[in-house]
């Protein structure tokens, strides 16, 4: 696959024609200078994410998925190329609180209860106590953690902690959600349930979601587009548009279309590995 295929394939003549680009990356390059020499984490990455998209990033470990997400979040500065978020630089977007970020690990503060962890971003935004309380209750029930608000993180299982960290990002309630393997630590059943809930939330709120995963079924089930990446240096090898309808019951995973897309993703991953 040629590099930069994303830039040619985006916005096909679908219902999303009218959609406006939220994240636009052009010829992004990022090299980490380390003690063992430079690490080329991203090379010539081109991608447009439109408002309301659900874009999954899939690729082997170390191919730069987290790095790309961090570039979108303004936590990492690309060495070349440009990227805009809502027409601003990622840094400006960050200051405008344009996105919520779910990290690969839960990262809850151990001295705060679950509820107070969720309220952390709300305190920083300066919301009133009653509004903080109201939002906390809402997102806790969204991730099925009602009644756990008063517990401390170490009193919860790893999966519950991860759900709490998702609730924290949801409470922040930004237009863009950047999620780095949020369900990686969960068992299959809980994962299915949270996948459904995430789809539901996405359908109801029109959020734009960038989602990193290692699971092909998860990527296919959730996404409107699947971005396949290859390692060393990390680049985009394929961008797959999903023909699946927005309404997706769990058993859609048995449909022919679903299996076809999954195949294509798998082929893309293999090609990246061999090349």
């Amino acid at each position: 696959m040629p590099d930069g295929i994303g830039s040619q394939q985006e916005v096909p003549g679908q219902a999303r024609d009218a959609a406006s680009p939220v994240i636009e990356a052009r010829a992004l390059d990022l090299t980490f200078e380390t003690n063992d020499g430079p690490v080329h984490a991203l090379r010539d990455v081109n991608l447009t994410i439109n408002a309301g998209d659900f874009v999954s990033f899939i690729g082997p470990s170390g191919c730069g998925k987290t790095t790309f997400l961090r570039v979108m979040a303004g936590l990492e500065t690309p060495t070349a190329g440009e990227i805009t978020v809502n027409g601003m630089t990622p840094d400006e977007a960050r200051r405008a609180r344009a996105y919520g970020y779910v990290f690969q690990a839960a990262g809850l503060y151990p001295w705060r209860t679950i509820a107070r962890n969720i309220q952390l971003p709300l305190e920083i935004m300066g919301l009133s106590k009653s509004e903080r309380q109201e939002r906390t209750d809402r997102v806790l029930s969204l991730v099925d953690l009602e009644g756990f608000g008063g517990k401390y993180p170490w009193q919860l299982s790893g999966g519950m902690q991860q759900r709490a960290s998702i609730a924290r990002a949801l409470a922040f309630d930004a237009e863009i959600l950047l999620m780095d393997e949020p369900f990686g630590a969960l068992d299959e059943i809980v994962r299915d349930k949270l996948n459904e809930e995430l789809l539901d939330l996405w359908a109801r709120t029109d959020k734009t979601i960038a989602f990193v995963t290692h699971s092909i079924p998860e990527a296919v089930f959730l996404s409107t587009r699947i971005v396949v990446m290859s390692p060393r240096p990390g680049r985009i090898t394929d961008v797959i548009e999903s023909p699946l309808p927005k309404e997706r019951p769990l058993d859609i995973r048995d449909s022919r279309e679903f299996i076809e897309i999954a195949h294509r993703v798998r082929d893309g991953l293999r090609a990246g590995h061999d090349g």
Binding site: A73, G74, L75, R94, R95, A96, R97, Y99, G100, Y101, F103, A105, G107, Y109, P110, W111, R112, T113, L120, P121, E123, I124, M125, Y152, W154, Q155, F172
Partner: protein, 329 residues
């Protein structure tokens, strides 16, 4: 995370029982060691006081071998004791022993702590309070200064580079040499009493606080910091909501070292002044006027004071960390 820091409802009795068992469980080995130390102490008393006991016996007309003090000087305390086993019991009850025996020190402690009025100049409670009050003042100053310096070091690269070497250098200066100069200099400009001693206590206690607090303020990992960046939090918010709470366990560890150092500093500050009050002054008086019991009692009073101060801090630490939800390590 073996013991639950948050008591579940109805766990009170179980927790108390567990705590009791832990105390008695911990007491057995401690008591064994204390008994061993006391035994060794009694054994050491014999050779230390043997010459004086022999001279005493000679004056009382009890036969001693060898029978002149000069001949006895040639012998070590141990061999003298072996030749005069009958006199050994006297070594434990000398009026002015070279090394007092444990029960003598205990009696002196009981006498000066419990039996004297606390306003009396012979009460160790009075002298102890003189020392402890200066210790607490110095500790408060040192802790405040240490925390301020730590914040400066963490937030300013210039301070990081410039202060830390000086802080380390300050601790290499022998305090015994500096203390008299500080006391004399402050005395010359009319500052006397509590404050000069507190200065020395502060000088010794700020350092562990700086080191621990810097480590604590830097303890949040990259992800915890990045999280706040994604919220576009201010530096003040980063400090109050992340760095400060994260530093609490480190700070308490330092405070326990700092308060012990403060006590040592105060006592050292009491030695050169010709001060008439304070545990340091009692130690000096005891040494200079041949009253070893006074010096030893003061020494033990200082140890007791240190244990109480560190213990009080440990209780505050437990309560605070529990309240914060951080399981005590």
């Amino acid at each position: 995370m073996t013991d639950a820091p948050i008591a579940a409802p109805g766990a009170g009795i179980g927790a108390t029982g567990r705590a009791l068992r832990r105390i008695t469980g911990a007491a057995a080995p401690i008591l064994t060691i204390v008994a061993g130390i006391i035994a060794l102490w009694y054994i050491a008393v014999v050779p230390m006081n043997m010459h004086a006991a022999a001279s005493q016996a000679e004056r009382d007309g009890i036969p001693v071998a060898p029978d002149t003090a000069i001949a006895r000087q040639e012998l070590t305390g141990t061999s003298l004791a072996l030749r005069n086993t009958g006199i050994i019991p006297q070594t434990f009850n000398q009026d002015r022993p070279r090394l007092p025996s444990p029960h003598q020190v205990a009696a002196e402690l009981w006498d000066t702590i419990a039996l004297k009025r606390v306003t009396s100049k012979r009460s160790l409670v009075y002298h102890g309070w003189v020392t402890v009050s200066a210790t607490l003042l110095g500790f408060a100053i040192g802790t405040g200064l240490g925390i301020l310096l730590a914040v400066g070091i963490v937030y300013s690269r210039a301070m990081d580079l410039s202060i830390m070497p000086w802080a380390i250098a300050s601790q290499t200066v022998p305090i015994l040499a500096v203390a008299p100069m500080v006391i004399v200099m402050l005395g010359a400009i009319g500052i006397q009493g509590l404050f000069p001693k507190a200065m020395i206590a502060a000088y010794l206690s700020f350092f562990p606080v700086v080191v621990g607090m810097v480590k604590g303020l830097r303890s949040p990992d990259a992800m915890q910091l990045d999280l706040l960046r994604t919220y576009s939090a201010s530096r003040l918010q980063e400090f109050l909501k992340l760095r400060l709470p994260a530093s609490a366990p480190y700070l308490f560890a330092s405070l326990k070292i700092g308060i012990a150092a403060s006590l040592v500093g105060t006592i050292v500050g009491e030695l050169p002044t010709g001060a008439r009050a304070g545990l340091g002054a009692r130690m000096l008086v005891g040494d200079q006027f041949g009253q070893p019991l006074v010096a030893w009692a003061a020494l033990f009073a200082a140890a007791i004071a240190a244990a109480l101060l560190v213990g009080a801090l440990a209780l505050i630490e437990r309560a605070t960390l529990r309240r914060m939800g951080i399981a005590p390590a």
